[in-house]
Amino acid sequence: MSYAYMFKYIIIGDTGVGKSCLLLQFTDKRFQPVHDLTIGVEFGARLVDIEDKQIKLQIWDTAGQEAFRSITRSYYRGAAGALLVYDITRRETFNHLTTWLDDARQHSSSNMVIILIGNKNDLVSRREVNAEEGEAFAREHGLIFMETSAKTASNVEEAFINTAKEIYGKIREGVFDISNEANGIKLGVQQSPSANSLSPTTKSFYQNTGCC
């Protein structure tokens, strides 16, 4: 399990929007129609390839209920990416997005990449939120946007990978200070200092600390 980087993700959103199912589809490639309510927080991981680099995604799946909100908040810090999920068949989950976003922005590092996900787009007949509305919200708040279905696996892979690409891009631009693990990025073990095209800051970091 060697990897160049590890990115930490957090999945947030109202209860029942399909956060755990998205994670399960992404890590195990399966769908569980009745998924137990998440208690507190769960965890999953998968390796992906971004520009020929192996990147480990460490994903924290949080409980959506209000009762667990304070525990959920403790996981924002140290996340490089967040998947903010709503359910296209339940308008109220879309209406709560601002609260979630405020919470996320307040408790995370400013560089955290956030992707807005309208889940359950297989249930077309029960749709209450149009894709355009999701897109508009995302544009207004500077988020990536995608509609997915954890059931049919549509766009699930892309959602996780696009987020990773965005984070990777930010690393190459030198936006992320990867020497600080609180940003949710960790250097992998097998990376060789010569074979990279990292920004000067990352390079010097690497040389200073050696491989961890």
Binding site: T15, G16, V34, H35, D36, L37, T38, I39, G40, V41, E42, F43, A45, Q58, W60, A67, F68, R69, S70, I71, R73, S74, Y75, R77, G78
Partner: protein
């Protein structure tokens, strides 16, 4: 108060005497309180003293119509004759109106008032007495705040996590099915005779939280039925749940209450102190309310944990016994932890899932072993401890969540974590915690600016109780499976150089022996208790009995010296020290002339250090152990009075050097001559 209690017991005694009589007569009565005495006993239990109340009989509430309608409906369903019905109806409306005015809380349908009043009216007491009883029940036993339902969920989660998860997943909250149970003290869903019997027991129990456990038994008893409803809609499940108490029969009440008592005795009680005042008094406690409403699992307070661990003998065999799991990072754990704490490295869960699973297996088997051994560290009830800081406890919460997900029973979390524990012990922290090192303990470091006195000398720390790790380690290793050994390494020694945990705390501060130094040294007088002196009671049977003469004539014995074993308890034994090329033996004389007990049989390579006392050069101490990296781990020692001490130690040192040379170990090439 005392008078009241006496009163109560007097009546109860009288009652039981009467009951015996009754039993003699018809032999099958299982009423707990006879009809004639019920009113008196309830009044006594509820602390109601007769005083007359003036009912003004003015019915001018804004919701008067609703109230009257509800009363009429309820009374119409009663089986009484018409005349009775009228008087019940007038009592009901009069009492409710009066209550509504005195508490100034609007009446709403199904708020439990009517249900509580009916069994009281059935006692046919004067109106004012009925009212006083009603008032006492509402004040003492009906929970005021919604946090009660969160607490109920946590208790269900504690005893039946799978069932709790099922209901959670169905998005069914306790409010939805148990509100009528709790706001009416079970009078609403139960039939009148059942309610009456249950109240007999309830008022004598006098525990406001008993309601929780009655509710718990209600749900857990029907768990199979509930789980079978999985394909039904949320609404049907809720109504099925809400109706559960209606199936209760008079003959079930006794068992039902005993079961509730059983669960109550197996539930940590910290929530009682935290919530009693806000649930059954009109105090507002926003902090404890928030803590319960946002809790991941049932919280346990420091005081409950500490009492439980340090005074287990005072707890009855039936009560809660804790198994403390310390989830902090290894370095923090090593800088101070509860003597009985089991360390589970939460980082493993993220970094090495397989190893984490093994660690959990190890934890469970250690728990089982500790339980079987009756150790103070053993308990069925898992208490997870974090740092006490939400952000630092990310992993702790995740581990707790994973235990809950795996449907582990009896999972709780320590309120405030290590920080609160540290604070609780205050100045005595160094003596209460094991391995406490004020230079590494995070809480001490934080406090250091404000309180420099905290840097107490950790070298004086003595373990308050036997180190559990030794036991667990021995237990697991005795299975001598490599995998398990590796596992223990992970669980007990999450860091690479943490082996010093096995040393008694004092060792760390004393002169640390380095592998490169001489084996033999003359040190200043040391306290004889400084190392893990084998203070255990010796069992005679543990020693092999051999013949002195045959050992003396063994070819491999290089030298033999007379000596006296000096035991920590002051005992001395006449013995002989024998040295072979590879081992050191001590043979103790017995009553029989030629028989000897082999009390020491150690490979020379196990001798880590030999010291003698400056003032008494004949007193020689052998310390056994092994090098772990740069550190020396002493795990045993023996002390002897050897008349020819100088000669004996020379021989031993020479032999040890020979062994090292034979090994041609690079590390030891540079060893200087030990004397």
């Amino acid at each position: 108060m005392a008078e009241e209690v006496n009163d109560k017991s007097w009546i109860a005694e009288l009652e039981s005497a009467l009951k015996e009589d009754a039993n003699l007569e018809d032999g099958e009565t299982d009423t707990f309180i006879s009809e004639e005495l019920r009113a008196e006993i309830w009044k006594s239990c509820l602390g109601v003293h007769t005083k007359s109340t003036y009912f003004d009989e003015i019915f001018d509430l804004p919701e008067q119509r609703l109230l009257r309608q509800d009363c009429q409906q309820v009374v119409a369903k009663l089986g009484n004759d018409e005349e009775d019905k009228l008087s019940v109806l007038s009592d009901l409306e009069s009492l409710l109106t009066y209550h509504r005015k005195s508490v100034n809380v609007p009446y709403t349908s199904g708020n439990g008032w009517i249900d509580i009043l009916l069994p009281l009216i059935a006692l046919k007491l004067p109106r004012s007495e009925s009212y006083l009883l009603f008032e006492a029940i509402v004040t003492k036993y009906i929970p005021r705040a919604p946090s009660f339902y969160h607490l109920f969920r946590l208790i269900l989660l504690y005893h039946d996590p799978a069932l709790c998860s099922f209901l959670d997943t169905k998005r069914i909250t306790p409010e939805q099915y148990s509100t009528t149970w709790f706001t009416s003290l079970f009078a609403a869903p139960c039939q009148l005779p059942v309610t009456t019997l249950m109240w007999d027991l309830y008022f004598q129990q006098a525990d406001p939280f008993f309601l929780l456990f009655l509710g718990l038994v209600m749900v857990i008893n029907s768990r199979e039925n509930i789980l079978n409803l999985k394909d039904l809609s949320k609404e049907s499940i809720i109504s099925a749940l809400a109706a559960l108490p209606s199936a209760l029969q008079e003959s079930d009440v006794q068992d039902f209450c005993s079961l509730a008592q059983f669960y109550s005795s197996r539930t940590p009680g910290s929530f009682r102190q935290d919530l009693e005042r806000c649930l059954f008094d009109d105090e507002v406690c926003p902090e404890s309310t928030a803590a319960i409403m946002q809790a991941l699992c049932l919280p346990v307070n420091i005081s409950e944990l500490v009492d439980n661990i340090f005074m287990p003998q005072e707890l009855s065999g039936e009560g809660v016994r804790f198994f403390l799991v310390d989830c902090r990072p290894a370095d923090q754990y090593n800088a101070g932890h509860m003597p009985t704490a089991f360390h589970l490295d939460c980082n493993l869960m993220l970094q090495a899932g397989d190893v984490y699973k093994m660690a959990v297996q190890g934890l469970l088997s250690a728990q089982k072993q500790a339980l079987d051994a009756g150790s103070t560290a053993g308990g069925e009830h898992l208490v997870f401890m974090g740092c006490g800081d939400l952000e630092q406890d990310q992993y702790t919460h995740m581990v707790v969540a994973s235990f809950l997900r795996d449907s582990s029973h009896y999972v709780s979390i320590l309120n405030g974590g290590y920080q609160a524990l540290h604070q609780y012990f205050g100045d005595t922290v160094a003596s209460m915690l094991t391995d406490h090192n004020s230079e590494a303990c995070l809480v001490c470091l934080q406090n250091v600016s404000s309180d420099s006195a905290m840097s107490a000398d950790a070298s004086n720390v003595q373990s308050p109780s036997k180190d559990i790790f030794g036991k667990i380690g021995a237990v697991v290793k005795s299975k001598s499976v490599e995998v398990k050994e590796k596992l223990m390494e992970y669980i007990v020694n999450p860091g690479a150089s943490d082996m010093e945990r096995h040393v008694k705390p004092s060792d760390k501060k004393g002169k640390r022996y380095r592998n490169t130094g001489p084996v033999f040294s003359i040190s200043d007088d040391q306290d004889p208790q400084d190392v893990g002196w084998n203070a255990e009671e010796e069992e005679d049977s543990q020693f092999e009995l051999v013949s002195f003469s045959s050992w003396r004539s063994r070819n491999d014995i290089i030298a033999t010296y007379e000596c006296k074993e000096l035991k920590i308890n002051g005992d001395t034994y006449e013995s002989e020290l024998m040295i072979s090329e590879t081992h050191v033996y001590v043979l103790r004389h017995t009553n029989s002339r030629d028989k000897a007990k082999v009390v020491v049989r150690k490979p020379l390579s196990a001798i880590a250090k030999i010291t003698c006392k400056k003032k008494y050069p004949q007193i020689i101490t052998f310390k056994y152990g092994s090098a772990q990296g740069d550190n020396l781990v002493i795990n045993d020692m023996d002390r002897f009075y050897i008349p020819k001490a100088t000669e004996a130690t020379k021989v031993i040192s020479r032999q040890i050097l020979n062994i090292f040379r034979k090994k041609s170990d690079d590390e030891n090439e540079n060893d200087e001559s030990p004397m």
